[in-house]
Symmetry: C2
Subunit: 214 residues, 2 copies
DNA sequence: GTCTATAGCTGGATAGAC
DNA sequence: GTCTATCCAGCTATAGAC
């Protein structure tokens, strides 16, 4: 009575999910070690302790695996960015957001490449997975809006600065903080440019210099 | 008498060079059409009108072809950057250099990827080819120095801004000028940040605004 | 669902006749 | 130098027994 037929599909689905997850975990382990493009189904099966055809019992194709990875990464991204607190201080919050973004990106190069660069040959994320990523990027845009930066050109300038810092950091100093350490400087430079009549709620280096000049 | 044996090796070398060049030309045609990573020796041979083994008569390996392409690209780069004139106006010259760099990069995506990103799997440019590229980048650094920006941190900020603009332009608006059109803005923002006591030789928007504030 | 075995393809690189 | 023919390695994906 308790165990009706309706409960049975639930296990199955649960087991299926955890088996899928195990494969995706193995995939991350591999791409972290060998590079995103170097993922092969043979290696993946070996890493996961199964045979190649078994992979196909859970994923229709190699791109389906990339898509699952993309979805997972996008989820992590939204969670990470949403967890950055708002203090009310314009410069501090923007700097925190940028630093958070950069930290997230540099924490895993293949994750960054999968999510933000288009380095995998024939792969396009599914609409569902992609929506996640776009939503998180819009959060960043909203944050800029709250600060008072709404001119699309200025938003473009911001994104350029952002990806520039992250890109240089990842490709020229993967394990250091040479460009990461410039985040405060960059934010100050950007806001001084975009908001000449400063509206920040606490003193900053720029505001201090401004005052000293009068 | 006139035709000594010494002249014979000259033709040979000349013919050999032009044959090599023809192969490299075919390679550029292909990567421009199919992407840098998609270059295969079969396709290359077909495009060049020869057979696959013949390619090996001129290049030891596939990477040797990439290296020849890299060398050519580096040469084009130095020539292009050296041709940008100096006017003596700090902001204008820096903007011209940045615009030139961005224009050069966006003119050919695979060339940009080969020169500045490390997207080809096992390929490292030979020391000789690489020296060319580094020399050109140092010219840009010198230009910054002349302007009065010598703090390494500020140089890093400049390079981040530069690659950010180019990267966004290439990956999000390949045939437009959405980020290219921000060059003047970016230069103004950067110089205002780095040289608070402006030393530019002609009025700029920033200087004008500065004056208006007093 | 899981395996062994293998198909089918594409890649770089080589042998050997001419 | 140039070709035809081929080797060998790697890949994704499938067939079919259990």
């Amino acid at each position: 009575m308790v165990k009706t037929q309706a409960t049975k599909p639930d296990w199955r689905e649960a087991r299926r999910r955890s088996a899928r997850d195990a494969i995706v975990v193995a995939a991350w382990t591999l791409v972290e070690r060998e590079g995103l493009a170097a993922l092969s189904l043979r290696d993946l099966a070996r890493e996961a302790g199964i045979s190649t055809p078994t992979v196909y019992a859970y994923f229709d194709s190699k791109n389906a695996i990339y898509d699952a990875m993309f979805g997972q990464a996008a989820e992590q991204f939204t969670a990470y960015m949403a967890a950055i607190p708002d203090s009310g201080n314009v410069r501090a919050d923007l700097a925190a957001a940028l630093r958070g973004f950069a930290t997230f990106c540099t924490a895993s190069t293949p994750r960054y490449q999968l999510l933000f660069q288009r380095t995998v040959p024939g792969f396009e994320p599914s609409a569902e997975s992609y929506a996640h990523a776009v939503a998180a990027l819009d959060i960043a845009r909203l944050r800029l809006g709250e600060v008072g930066v709404t001119d699309p050109r200025q938003v473009d300038l911001w994104t350029a600065m952002t990806v520039g810092l992250v890109d240089q950091q990842i490709s020229n100093d993967p394990h250091g903080d040479r460009w990461l350490s410039l985040v405060d400087d960059a934010v100050e430079m950007f806001l001084t440019h975009c908001l000449p009549t400063s509206t920040s709620t606490s003193p900053t280096r720029a505001a201090t210099r401004e005052r000293a000049r009068r």
